[in-house]
Symmetry: C2
Subunit: 571 residues, 2 copies
């Protein structure tokens, strides 16, 4: 793979593109396009933007990802969680519906794109690893609840602001008296119908003898039918006169050329939200891409994914969109529909461009309650509290991270929630390493293997104490080992040798080296010899840099068995 | 030890206090008092406060520490680094010499005291472990330089503000034309004399046949002689008329009762500086206390030390002082002078109270240049760049932490410097764990021990791959192991068994467990069996909570040797 192919993965699959791939990609694109039309409009609504922004955000970004991305099936565009984060970030900066809000959305996409691109070129994909599975699961669940609740205002036909659960609930309650009954009927029917389409339609069709393939397509086209039905209902019964909120005039246009703002004050305000959106979007996208790639034994390159997503977001910023990433549901549909290459994405983009150009007059009467229903049904499938139960059963530290992520996301918004989750998981990981497990070990009879004296029947010698430190030795726990050895040896006059079994010590930093020197010195003063055993290669290389080995009162043994053989005089 | 004795360590030593301890403590107190008079005045000057604040900060705090502290020899009071941090924290809040500045100093001490006390009661002493030895060494060196340079204005007799090296140097250069020649002569002589007292006086006296004990006392009293000489010079030659800055009127008073401000806005501004002062002060104090305790095989309790230092700082806030901690030089002098119990500290406090009440008129003509000289000579002994060389030789990560700490402390001030040092050491520690060392191992001939195939001559079997993961398995590196195993096995059709040697895996969190499930599943699809060996007790306990062990395609072996014996059919 040459350098051009690495940075432009489209060069690889384009070489072998043939008629069969073309027809598979075209079919997948058709299905995804139909599904994406209502979804794109709805996510624009969620982000606080006019509906056409959702279409625009799905056209050029998809094409750019097709050129630069490494996943064969990933579909890029607006997704629920990132749209929610966009609304939260822009809420403090401008009022929804103003020019400033739209420009800030472009800037947020642009900034996020530049960050993703930069991280990709610097090969910083690894930072996403700091979002642990439990934190992601908790964050997605809490976001799903926040999104669903925030969309209730469209179902009730009232206004309600806020980015936290208490704020939104308080606003909904305060405006409950202004509920619009007709809107509630439309919204309620749409939600019910969409749920039934997801769960009930396919079995029903199959029972009626419809072939499975056709039933699948019907399920995917279902939301469009709900859109058509509710739009027709508004038009026929003139429900807009009953104050049902509708989408209204949407410009008939290809994505426009737009420029984000380069105002430094604005960009500084957007810096942290853009960073969080970039990381969350990247993690979501990479997880989807890896899951799908694994099914076909393909591989994706996380650093190149950063470049693909960066290009897509810069594209969104230049063509009237807002932050985008690889979406779970649209990618799975694309994959299931048989997409073979990213060309399917390009064809989807063409389909959506046609919709933006020709179909927008048809959605004039589309009720916003229908779009809200689309969002609610989509995000409720993300809500999964089982992670709380699973993490509780496995480890209280993981549980704490999940719980804090969910509680703070709901209570204080997405940015604080995910930052606290990541911060807490790192803090707990470090905390565990502060007071490491230190086991005194003895020889398992009939073997050369050494295990904890408290868990196994082992052979020990009164004059030899072997301690196994179960953690790398670094500045934060160096003093702990000093104390542990002191406490073990101080009151036991029989001890002549202390062997530190280093099989689990993966690193010794300078602070820890100084602690070892101190331990060696103090033991020497007590007339006790310090030995090391099973020091790993990389750690030994490091120790040889200093003068600790020349000062060590005892020896370094290749294996613990050799150590005990030598010290007992058996070898 | 009952609960009262734990929280009031004075109860323990008071029981056995006798005449010999009393006379030792009295002698030590006399020597320390003589040394502390000029030092206390000087550190008040460094903190930007009137000289009497230095005396006040040494009286009640010393007594409270004597009651609550666990170190027998620690001397608490104003110290160089904390005084510098105080000046840096207050510089943004009020102008030196105003009432507001003094009150802010009291509030900073009070806030720091409450924090230390709270940490002590919550037993949070471990957080100090996050300050690694190299970061502390770098910070102390950089602070020493900053302090010495900042005192040059008093030697030159000019004014110069600023809390970073470039700021101070620029101010000094700008005012160089206003240098007061008489002040330079006094300051220069004082610096030269003080250096000679430190290095040259003792050998000279010993050569002259003076007994060693008397020579030691002369060295410690030397700075007082410099104070007396320069004060007399100013008085006799009326040098204040030549614009030599003098200390002037100092109130003759015991420490006054003062109240810090409870203004929330001010306290919020002081929050971060107070936290940093608390941690740095605590670490400095505990290191000194531990070093001295180790020499007499005594132990100190870090959590109780927090309580002692907290009480001392609250005492400083209530009696006209500023933030205090255990100081290196005064504690060493106290220890060397034979102090046996904290009662020596109480006697020192009485001596200083006498000085505050009776001796202050005598220092009316004391030149500020002399105090600056005292500080410069004291802090230059802290400056030690050898940590750069030692850390470079041992590990580039440790070097980076030291270098960043020194560079940022000099360039951007103490608060940014130490925060960046701590942040970077934690980040580098985490970064190393992201891409852990993974060794493929084989059996050392003639033993049951397994080592890296690349470093040792070992026996391997083509159908068995054993990988030793040299790091705990947690969210940030779980995916790395997935990739490493995939890369090793994917292209090698001969592999039937993968054994993961877990001797260095000290933890498996929930994210990592999910990765192991994924690895097990993928290997199973390839027809390869996954085994674990040498799983530690605590990790095994954890694994038994989930259902991973029931899904594992292979077995869990007690030792790697048993694993290979079983899989090769030799057992």
């Amino acid at each position: 793979m040459n350098n051009l192919e690495r940075y432009l993965p489209a060069m690889v699959w384009a070489k072998t593109y043939d008629r069969s791939a073309l027809s598979n990609d075209l079919i997948a694109a058709l299905i995804v396009t139909i599904m994406l039309i209502p979804q794109s409009l709805a996510y624009a609504l969620l982000a606080g933007l006019p509906p056409e922004a959702g279409l625009y955000a799905s056209i050029v970004p998809i094409m750019l990802y097709a050129l630069f991305g490494t996943s064969r099936a990933l579909a890029v565009g607006p997704v629920a969680v990132v749209s929610l984060m966009t609304a939260a970030a822009l809420g403090d900066i401008a009022a929804q519906g103003t020019m400033g809000y739209g420009v800030a959305a472009l800037s947020l996409a642009g900034l996020s794109g530049v960050m993703l691109l930069g991280m990709g070129l610097l090969r910083l994909g690894f930072v996403a690893n700091f979002l642990s599975h439990p934190v992601i699961a908790g964050f997605i669940t809490a976001s799903g609840i926040l999104i669903a609740v925030s969309q209730m205002k469209h179902i009730l036909g009232v206004s309600a602001q806020g980015h936290t659960l208490p704020e939104i609930l308080a606003e909904l309650l305060a405006h409950l008296g202004q509920t619009n009954p007709v809107t509630v009927v439309i919204g309620g029917l749409a939600v019910g119908l969409l749920f039934w389409l997801r769960k009930g339609l396919r079995p029903a069709l199959v029972r009626l003898g419809v072939p499975r393939g056709a039933a699948d397509i019907a399920v995917k086209a279902g939301p469009v039918a709900v859109v058509v039905l509710t739009t027709l209902a508004v038009w026929l019964f003139k429900l807009e006169a009953a104050d049902v909120k509708i989408v209204g005039t949407v410009p008939q246009s290809l994505p426009p050329f737009t420029l984000p703002s380069f105002d430094l004050g604005l960009l500084r305000q957007l810096l942290l939200p853009a960073a969080l959106i970039s990381i969350i979007g990247f993690v979501e996208s990479v997880s989807v891409a890896q899951t799908l790639a694994a099914k076909k034994r393909q591989r994706i390159d996380p650093d190149q994914e950063l470049i693909g997503l960066g290009a897509a977001n810069i594209g969104a910023a230049l063509t009237g969109g807002f932050p985008v990433t690889g979406g779970f549901s649209r990618s799975v549909v694309n994959f299931d529909a048989g997409a073979q290459t990213p060309a399917a994405g390009a064809f989807t983009a063409i389909g959506l461009a046609f919709a933006a150009l020709a179909l927008t007059p048809l959605i004039y009467f589309l009720p916003k309650a229908t779009l809200a229903a689309t969002i609610i049904v989509a995000v409720l499938s993300l809500v999964d509290f089982s992670i709380l139960r699973r993490s509780w059963a496995y480890s209280k530290a993981d549980f704490a991270a999940v719980f804090v992520t969910i509680a703070l996301t709901l209570g204080f918004g997405v940015e604080i929630g995910v930052s606290a989750g990541v911060g807490l998981s790192i803090a707990l990981h470090l905390y565990k390493s502060l007071r490491p497990h230190i086991a005194e070990v003895g020889q398992v009879p009939g073997s050369e293997h050494f295990r904890n004296v408290r868990r196994h029947q082992v052979i020990t010698h009164p004059n030899i104490v072997t301690l196994r430190m179960d953690e790398s030795l670094y500045f934060a726990n160096a003093r702990f080992l000093e104390d542990a050895i002191h406490n073990r040896v101080a009151g036991d006059g029989a001890v002549e040798h202390v062997v530190l079994l280093c099989s689990a010590i993966n690193e010794i930093d300078l602070s820890a080296l100084e602690s070892l020197e101190m331990i060696n010195e103090r033991l020497r003063e007590m007339g006790v010899t310090l030995h090391l055993s099973e020091v790993k290669g990389p750690v030994m290389d490091r120790l040889e840099q200093g003068h600790f080995l020349s000062e060590l009162s005892g020896q370094v043994f290749l294996s613990q068995y050799t150590a005990v053989q030598t010290l007992t005089g058996a070898a």
